[in-house]
Symmetry: C2
Subunit: 171 residues, 2 copies
Amino acid sequence: MDDLVPPANFAMVDHGVFRSGFPQKCNFGFLKTLKLQSIVYLSTEPYPKSNLEFMQSNGIRLFRFAMEGSTKSSAEIHREIIKEALKVILDEQNYPLLIHCRSGKHRTGCVVGCIRKMQRWCLLSIVEEYRQFAGAKARNCDERFIEFFDVSNLKKSSQPAICFRNTFNFI
Amino acid sequence: MDDLVPPANFAMVDHGVFRSGFPQKCNFGFLKTLKLQSIVYLSTEPYPKSNLEFMQSNGIRLFRFAMEGSTKSSAEIHREIIKEALKVILDEQNYPLLIHCRSGKHRTGCVVGCIRKMQRWCLLSIVEEYRQFAGAKARNCDERFIEFFDVSNLKKSSQPAICFRNTFNFI
């Protein structure tokens, strides 16, 4: 049997939630092993036909949020889109779920940073994790965005339905 | 309520399995949220009293494997110790479980690399993950060790008892 090829920048965020860069055809065998229910795609670009076919034949639902990859969007637009994406990401009925953008660094990094904020991680640990994925491409504006993202009105939208529910430690 | 401080280099390896650098007192609040059953400690150094007390008061079992932090051990010694550690790590009765050494880079990186090999990840993806944690301290000898580690006689030692069991895709 061939070895499995995870997408670039693949990692587990928490139970039932994964993150990565853009999945290529060579990653489909690996993605099958995750038994995904949903993909959260953070981009304005259309989804490739081969990826849509893979999702259809594996019963995976696509949630697309039109986030710009560059830094030209205002923090306010960014914030509203991320709040909408978080509603999907925090709903455990959508698990297992993969969050991805193009490189798995900036847009995905911001969204995961907001999740960590909801989990009450301290800012330096959130930024350490962001930089682990962004590497030399880390953006100050993303880190600031995470720092000032307000999680006070955000809550998990469903009852935990998975194991080790206490790992999730939302405010 | 205070923010939570994960240990340095903290991440989720798979359902019920976490990795990190050495936990300090400031990390105990965060570690409590993981509801750990076990800690796998990869070092010849004694465990600090404060950490032992934290474990005792939270019912966490310590498994210590005397791995040298430097590169002076032969690959053969290294290999035998890691095989013993993997027996504990693959036994889901010990979950949730935290694997750590000093920095969470080399010894922990080797062990996680061997787990990924059992999960049939391709070598380049395993090394990408190893480097994400080791950063500028990545060691060629660790990467070679992972490349030549033989997983053909290793199997999961217990039936999966956790959700999303198919995420584990052992050979």
